[in-house]
Amino acid sequence: VVTLCVCVLCYFARSRELTEVKEEEVTVATPIKSQDLWTLLLQRHPRLSVLQGHVILAVRQQYVAIGDQSVFLGDGDEVAVIPPLSGG
């Protein structure tokens, strides 16, 4: 069963500069492979492609590698683009 939900995309650091957006709502089919979620993000913001291979996502504030695993989303869930960290 595939359903649709409205989740919140959050962009940080270089990804925010590339998209020029901090947060936006999108409708996404769920469950969705994290790879497909990334593809969807690239379609919205092609400039994100410079991060390809050096980026992961966070879904409901849990890190999710971009790959084969399925992500289950609900309305209002946060999906964040996480460029390489540089805290400290």
Partner: protein
């Protein structure tokens, strides 16, 4: 075992007080406090002089990742008492502290081991980013070698 009462990760827009972070982990039962202070180093990158750093964070997620970090430290160093981190946000000038971490334990070796692990985990997992600001007004996002998905990770 999770984040204990008293563990604290605080994001600050102003000067960091080392004493405040140390006081937050001081306990009569602990004879050892290890501290790490990270400061903005004076640096020159390809002829451009670094004049400061700009920090940002995924603030709500910082807290949940810090809980995991505290768990991981206690799994490896069970005698650790308290863990406290103050981390700057916004712009930080050269020679100012951007992070202060303090960890207390009854004996020295445990706090020493824990502080090394703690800083490694912070750099690997806490969702905070910095860019260097150069005297030319150019900027460049940094990447921690400890971050698994960094270009330069090892």
């Amino acid at each position: 075992m999770s984040q204990e009462v008293g563990d604290l990760f605080s994001l600050k827009h102003d000067w960091l007080s080392v004493q405040e972070v140390v006081d937050a982990v001081t306990l009569p039962s602990c004879g050892a406090i290890s501290v790490f202070i990270g400061t903005t180093r004076e640096d020159e990158v390809e002829g451009r002089k670094v004049i400061g750093l700009e920090y940002e964070a995924y603030e709500s997620m910082v807290q949940s990742e810090f809980s995991k970090l505290c768990c991981d430290i206690r799994a490896r160093c069970p005698t650790v008492a308290k863990i406290c981190v103050h981390h700057r946000l916004g712009s930080v000038k050269v020679a100012e502290a951007s992070v202060v971490m303090a960890i207390s334990s009854p004996h020295r070796k445990d706090s020493e081991q824990a502080i090394q692990l703690g800083m490694k985990l912070l750099k690997a997992n806490i969702p905070i980013w910095k860019k260097e600001v150069y005297h030319t007004q150019e900027v460049s996002w940094k990447e921690n070698a400890e971050c698994e998905w960094a270009e330069l990770s090892h």
